[in-house]
């Protein structure tokens, strides 16, 4: 019986089995940001520990950074945000850790810059104090979110105590219909398996749909693993992976590159790999999805009506009722036509070049509907530079979108970009939790960048497939 990539990579990094039954794993790449690292550095200092592998940790600032030029002037207007920024500057300087910063014009969302710089490479173990670390699994890595005490563990030892997960292969066969995107694939498997269906599992995404995807699309699919309860999700590395990485800043060159590719090719799951579970989803069956509730599994195809409360298992009905009450939606109403107040295109899920290009297609020559506030927030300063070089900023600007600077922005609203009151946003981010976008009563509809773009133009949830001729 063959091995899955999960077990191959796990075994390579296993230091020892601990008394607790967990395994001590070497962590090849540690990414940190300003929200979950300051307390970890404090723990390291408190215990008088050193950082033995400072060149395997990379830092950025993304959650609290304002996304307007004026807002980024130092000191930041919000003294708490300024304090957090100062802490990561000081901590990275003190411990000799590289910091991708606005000062050097190489800042961005942690899960955008890792791949973009070629730091994320197949076969690595990757950890970050951020649950969307699963994004990096797109490259055939084991990448998972960790808490702050574990950030301190990695700083002090470059290892983590981890239990071995089960592996569920999710096979997407066939092809996606026009107007259906990687985001819809993600929302589809979460809808099917639930927000806790992945607890205890690593998800391996495969099949023709995934094979055909670009790296950026695979990142979107892996990004949402944690929304389905799976701490990590991955795609086996292939030629698409190698083509994406070749020539990036931190990737090997020349003969070393050849050696790396040869190594990476051996990592993919064997054809006869043993999985703990296998799920089949037909690409043709996936519609453009929109969430209507307060968990990422509470979603419907854009052509469908909202489900009846009693169509859910009894145990889930409390949260379904809570969702209807919070969203002020009714069972049976169509999701299409729901008016939106705000459109947010960006985040570690959908803030990359292909996302902006796809959204721009549906915006070009159109205007944002009256009364809708629409933001485009590139995932990194590098994405912003490329988008500007292609003139995308102008397309958005002329349509009435606000073109912003790189950051997490309204995905979690720890910065000035926030919903007001009970506004409804069409958002390309990853979470529709209560209050997630900054207003305790704000409402989030998750969808693909193309769906968000047409929602901006129409002022309401619209089936992107009706705009496909454009």
């Amino acid at each position: 019986m063959g091995q899955s990539l999960y077990h191959k990579v796990f075994d390579r990094h296993c230091v020892t089995q601990l008394a607790s039954g967990q395994f001590q794993l070497f962590i090849g790449l540690h990414l940190i940001h300003e929200v979950t690292s300051p307390q970890a550095f404090a723990m390291v200092r408190e215990q008088n520990l050193s950082v033995p592998f400072p060149d395997r940790t990379f830092a950025t600032v993304d959650h609290i950074i304002p996304t307007t030029g004026a807002g980024r002037q130092r000191p930041l207007q919000d003294p708490l945000a300024e304090e957090m920024l100062q802490h990561i500057e000081q901590n990275t300087a003190d411990f000799g850790i590289s910091f991708f910063s606005p000062d050097k014009n190489d800042q961005g969302i942690v899960h955008v810059i890792g791949p973009e710089r070629g730091l994320t490479q197949p076969g690595m173990t990757i950890a970050c104090g951020d649950s969307h670390t699963s994004t990096h699994g797109a490259f055939g890595t084991l990448a998972f979110g960790i808490g702050t005490s574990q950030v301190a563990d990695v700083l002090a030892t470059q290892t983590l105590a981890m239990a071995k997960l089960k592996v569920r292969r999710i096979n997407f066969s066939g092809a996606l219909q026009p107007g259906v995107y990687a985001k819809d694939v993600a929302l589809a498997y979460i809808n099917r398996l639930g927000v806790n269906g992945g607890v205890g599992f690593a998800y391996e995404f495969g099949g023709e749909v995934i094979d055909r995807m670009t790296m950026e699309e695979r990142m979107t699919v892996c990004n949402m693993s944690i929304e389905g309860g799976a701490r990590c999700g991955y795609v086996n590395p292939d030629q698409t992976t190698f083509d994406y990485l070749k020539g990036r800043d931190y990737c090997p060159e020349g003969e070393a590159w050849e050696r790396a590719v040869a190594d990476w090719q051996n990592l993919a799951s064997d054809a006869d790999a043993d999985y703990d579970d296998v799920i089949e989803i037909k690409g043709e069956d996936i519609e453009p999805f929109v969430t209507w509730g307060i968990t990422p599994a509470q979603s419907v195809g854009v052509g469908q009506n909202l489900p009846a409360v009693d169509s859910f298992a009894e145990a889930d009905q409390i949260v379904v009722r809570e969702a209807y009450e919070y969203m002020s939606f009714e069972e049976g109403q169509p999701i299409v036509g729901t008016p939106v107040d705000v459109v947010f295109i960006g985040s570690c899920t959908n803030g990359r070049m292909s996302d902006l290009r796809e959204a721009a297609k549906f915006v070009k020559g159109k205007k944002v509907a009256e009364g809708v506030r629409a933001l485009v927030v590139p995932g990194s300063q590098e994405v912003a530079r490329q988008a500007i070089a292609e003139g995308l900023n102008k397309v958005f600007d002329e349509a009435g979108f606000q073109w912003r600077e790189a950051g997490c922005s309204m995905c979690l609203a720890m910065n000035p970009d926030q919903l007001q009151g009970n506004e409804i946003s069409a958002s390309t981010s990853n979470r529709n939790f209560k209050g997630r976008q900054g207003s305790p009563t704000g409402r989030t509809l998750l969808m693909s960048p193309a769906m968000a773009a047409v929602a901006a133009v129409e002022g309401k949830v619209t089936d992107v497939r009706k705009h496909l001729e454009n």
Partner: protein, 202 residues
């Protein structure tokens, strides 16, 4: 340096009903703007508390009956969402010292172990029975025994489950993984030397 040994937790309970209670609800993101965890306890469930108050209802974390609670009883997939340790830090600083739920998000569970907060599991009926019992007798103490995996209180002694690995970590004080990891630092360095990417495939 082993941590404190955790064998038993005793204190009043607090019921929190509903599945999929996420980390943004436990502590809303705007309260994460901090460089220490000090003071984060007072923001536990801040928005849920306010949301219910508007309707004239009281959230358990704002209910005077449960003000001294130490044992939280929740339902499925508790603590889903973000990896932020701010969530269990907030609960701990509010006063929670142990949790019983039907299931947990993995990252949240691991964070709780790092903070010496034992997380037990039980089926839906057991959690509901405990929640009802706490509602009707909020003063009564619950005693959670780590080795036996039981809750003893107003409704007698109830069997719970606890992950054996975490159970042993509480019982021998090794719940803070860092101590054990540091002991193997040389072995970790040896593993690193064998990983071709560490030298960039030179």
């Amino acid at each position: 340096m082993a941590g404190k040994i955790v064998t038993e937790i005793t204190g009043p309970g607090i019921p929190l009903r509903g599945n999929d209670i996420d980390t943004d609800r436990i502590v809303p993101a705007r309260f994460l703007k901090c460089v220490t965890f000090d003071g984060i306890g007072k923001h536990a469930f801040a928005d849920d508390i306010k949301g219910l108050a508007v309707k004239g209802e009281t959230h358990p974390f704002a209910d005077a009956r449960f003000a001294n609670a130490a044992v939280l009883v929740a339902n499925q997939n508790f603590g889903c969402g973000s990896s932020r340790e701010h969530a269990p830090q907030s609960l701990q600083r509010w006063g929670i010292r142990a949790i019983i739920a039907e299931s947990y998000s993995e990252i949240f569970y691991g964070n709780c172990v790092s903070l010496a907060i034992p997380c037990f599991t039980a089926d839906h009926e057991t959690c509901a029975k405990l929640q009802d019992a706490i509602e009707s007798n909020s003063e009564g103490d619950l005693t959670l025994n780590i080795a036996a995996a039981t809750a003893t209180g107003p409704c007698g002694t109830i069997a719970l489950q606890i992950q054996p690995g975490a159970q042993s970590q509480f019982l021998d004080g090794s719940w803070n993984a860092r101590t054990g990891l540091l002991e193997n630092l040389d072995a970790a360095k040896a593993v690193a030397e064998k990983l071709a990417y560490v030298s960039n495939y030179a």
